[in-house]
């Protein structure tokens, strides 16, 4: 009995250390963001919240020049939300349609098309940054939401996921639907989409996080401050800290990291079950 207890205690101890390891940095970031710049410069990071919470976050979110020259925190927040939602929704639509075509239709080009989609996995953005910028510019898509979101949508991950899922749908459904005289579009909308509800939700959540967290692409695609996302704001505040020249506004940098973290974390926590299901399913 005694031995068993020790085991349990050590298990909990390991887990608690793990939780502290994962959570403490974010807590410190939050606590420090609620102190004044002078205080941080003199006393270092903070473990307990201070009295400047409202002041810092108010400046970052609502005051002109509070964090970046000509863009408010709320504007960056809005841009991040547009990117996150736009990306998630676009991705679900485009990849569901493509997966549907590949799984449910017999056509000659199915295999080559599948390989074209597959190729996107070989071309991470990092290896085609500069030409991508030139392509976007020549299409007049810089600084547009369309240009920011659409090129991100095309990668294969979502398509693979739906392809896998559609293949697990019983064949009898299509047989029955065809006996009822359903069209291709009718079958998709009336049967397949309702059937995929949970999957769609899961993918939406994952892709929202992925879209929100985009860094390099918005970095090169946005040339105007008013189009910055929060994650790009991170880069800019890093730059401002690195250049110095005035009292470093560490509390605002931390506040920005908290703001950039909060929405995706909330989404993941609130929809935890769907999210985990979606993530783990994508492996298969």
């Amino acid at each position: 009995m005694k031995q068993w207890n020790w085991r349990l205690i050590s298990t909990h101890a390991i887990l608690i250390v793990g939780v502290i390891f994962m959570s403490l940095p974010v807590w410190v970031a939050f606590a420090t963001s609620t102190h004044s710049a002078e205080h941080i410069l003199r006393n270092g990071l903070q473990f307990w919240p201070g009295s400047e919470l409202l002041k810092t976050y108010n400046e970052v979110l609502f005051v002109d020049g509070g964090v970046m020259k000509s863009v408010l925190g709320t504007t960056m927040l809005k841009n991040s939300l547009i990117l996150g939602f736009g990306f998630a929704i676009g991705k679900v639509i485009v990849s569901m349609l493509a997966a549907y075509a590949i799984v449910y239709f017999r056509f000659k080009l199915a295999v080559p098309l599948f390989w074209i989609i597959f190729m996107t996995l070989l071309l991470p953005l990092e290896v085609r940054i500069i030409p991508s910028y030139e392509v976007m510019a020549s299409l007049g898509l810089l600084d547009t939401h369309f240009g920011l979101i659409v090129p991100l949508i095309a990668s294969a991950t979502g398509t693979f996921f739906f392809r896998q899922f559609f293949r697990s749908v019983p064949d009898e459904l299509l047989e029955a639907a065809r006996l009822d005289g359903a069209t291709a579009w009718g079958f998709f909308i009336d049967i397949l989409v309702p059937l995929s509800k949970t999957m769609i939700a899961a993918i939406l959540i994952i892709m929202f996080v992925v879209g929100w967290n985009q860094y390099l692409w918005p970095l090169i695609m946005t040339t105007k401050e008013e189009n910055y996302t929060l994650v790009i704001g991170i880069k800019q505040i890093y730059q401002i800290l690195a250049e110095g020249g005035e009292l470093p506004q560490y509390q605002k940098a931390f506040a920005l990291t908290i703001l950039a973290t909060l929405p995706p974390v909330l989404v993941v926590l609130v929809f935890q079950n769907w999210f985990v299901k979606g993530l783990v399913e994508s492996e298969k």
Partner: protein
């Protein structure tokens, strides 16, 4: 904005675009690299200009650091989306000036342009090999020594060091008083480029790179190696602090009173007056008496404004008008006083003098006095391609010297080799 291609097509088919343009003000995009307090001053100047007339609207955009700004400009130019005005820093000068057709030279753009209006120290750094000014030296700075007067008092030191020999004498006293004697932001700029200018040493073949792109770097010389050997020994002895490559990290150490002296830019003056809670002074960049008895002036650092090509005459006229506004004495004095960057015209310098600005703030004049020190054969500037990467190469080997993973000799030999390979590549792009 979101549907720009669509709008453009619509406008083309109906002729809306041309008719509206005639009535609206000309919008001039200005990409700059001035963050923090400097950026606020830039915005203020643009707003003032916009308020002063109704034909032109200047839209300043902060594009990140100097490198980021240049990159954004290059990418935009290649995509034919270039801004009208771009701020390019000293290390990027060769990249933009060696590419005729990328810019419209200021000397051609501005009517009544006279290079003699500019103070001698800034005239030729952004000029082509014929001495024609290409970029407007907007924010010109020079490396200065900032010192904490309180720290000096605590250590019982009367005056800041004029030479590195003097520095070596006072450093132990500062250490005893609990300070690291010196830190520095930007070692390629201060401890390499300006080291050569101050001691009047050639830094590259081909007239410091002005005459040709087919040149070799001469950093691997005995004076440099002596200096860096000394710096390494200071670091080991606790006289020198290194807080990273980032400019701000080293400046913050000075603000936090960890270090007693800091080598930074004259353009840092404005920011420091706001952030430092102690009395500080400025003086000239120290030199080695063992190398030169009468030191020369320094290079200007900072950056210049370039008018990018590919815009309409109307827009170019607007740019010229804005440049004229920026170089007016009033604005130069304003900029000088707000930021610490030197005034670039003699008229502005005289105006600041007449105002009595230097009587009340003598430290603000140190930068311009240093730039006005007698020039030598090798103090005009330098023009080297891929210099952004070369600076990275230098940083890399300076890091190695500091960490002790390479000897000074090995580090400089490797630096010379890698830099010259880059110069060959750069030169070949213009064949």
């Amino acid at each position: 904005m979101k549907f720009r291609p669509l709008l453009a097509a619509l406008a083309l088919s109906s002729g809306i675009l041309t008719s509206t343009q005639a009535y609206s003000a000309t919008e001039i995009q200005w990409w700059h690299a001035m963050g923090g307090a400097l950026g606020e001053t830039v915005n203020e100047m643009a707003e003032n200009y916009n308020a002063s007339q109704s034909d032109v609207v200047i839209v300043p955009t902060y594009k990140g650091g100097y490198e980021d700004t240049m990159t954004a400009g290059i990418a935009a130019f290649r995509a034919k989306e270039q801004p009208h005005i771009i701020q390019i820093f000293d290390a990027g000068a060769a990249t933009i000036i060696n590419a005729p057709g990328a810019t419209v030279p200021v000397a051609d753009l501005m009517k009544d342009f006279n290079i003699e209006d500019y103070i001698s120290g800034v005239r030729y750094f952004y000029a082509d090999s014929d001495g024609k000014m290409i970029g407007l030296p907007f924010n010109s700075s020079t490396p200065l020594l900032y010192f904490n007067k309180e720290a000096f008092k605590e250590a019982g030191i009367d005056a800041p060091p004029k030479t590195w020999e003097e520095f070596e004498a006072i450093a132990p006293k500062l250490k005893e008083a609990g300070y690291i004697a010196l830190a520095q932001s930007h070692s390629p700029w201060i401890f390499s480029e300006n080291f050569h200018s101050r001691h009047n040493i050639q830094l590259a073949t081909g007239n410091n790179g002005y005459d040709s792109t087919d040149v070799k770097l001469l950093y691997n010389n005995d004076h440099m190696k002596m200096h860096w050997g000394k710096v390494k020994s200071w670091l080991d002895a606790g006289y020198y602090g290194f807080y990273g490559r980032a400019w701000g990290d080293n400046q913050d150490a000075f603000v936090q009173k960890k270090v007693a002296m800091w080598l930074g830019s004259s353009g840092s003056f404005g920011g420091l007056t706001k952030s430092a809670e102690f009395e500080f002074g400025t003086t000239f960049l120290p030199y080695w008496e063992s190398i030169i008895k009468e030191p020369k002036g320094t290079f200007i650092g900072g950056a210049a404004l370039f008018a990018m090509s590919g815009h309409s005459d109307e827009e170019n006229k607007a740019i010229a008008d804005f440049f004229g506004y920026m170089t007016s004495s009033d604005n130069q004095v304003f900029w000088h006083k707000e930021t610490g960057y030197v005034p670039i015209t003699t008229a502005a310098y005289d105006a600041a003098k007449k105002e009595g600005y230097y009587d009340s703030t003598p430290d603000a004049e140190v930068g311009i006095l240093q730039l006005s020190q007698p020039g030598g054969e090798w103090t005009k500037g330098y023009r080297l391609g891929y210099y952004v990467q070369i600076r990275d190469v230098m940083y890399k080997h300076f890091d190695d010297i500091f960490s002790g993973s390479a000897s000074v000799d090995d580090a400089f030999a490797a630096m010379e080799k890698e830099s010259n390979e880059l110069l060959v590549r750069f030169s070949d792009t213009y064949k």
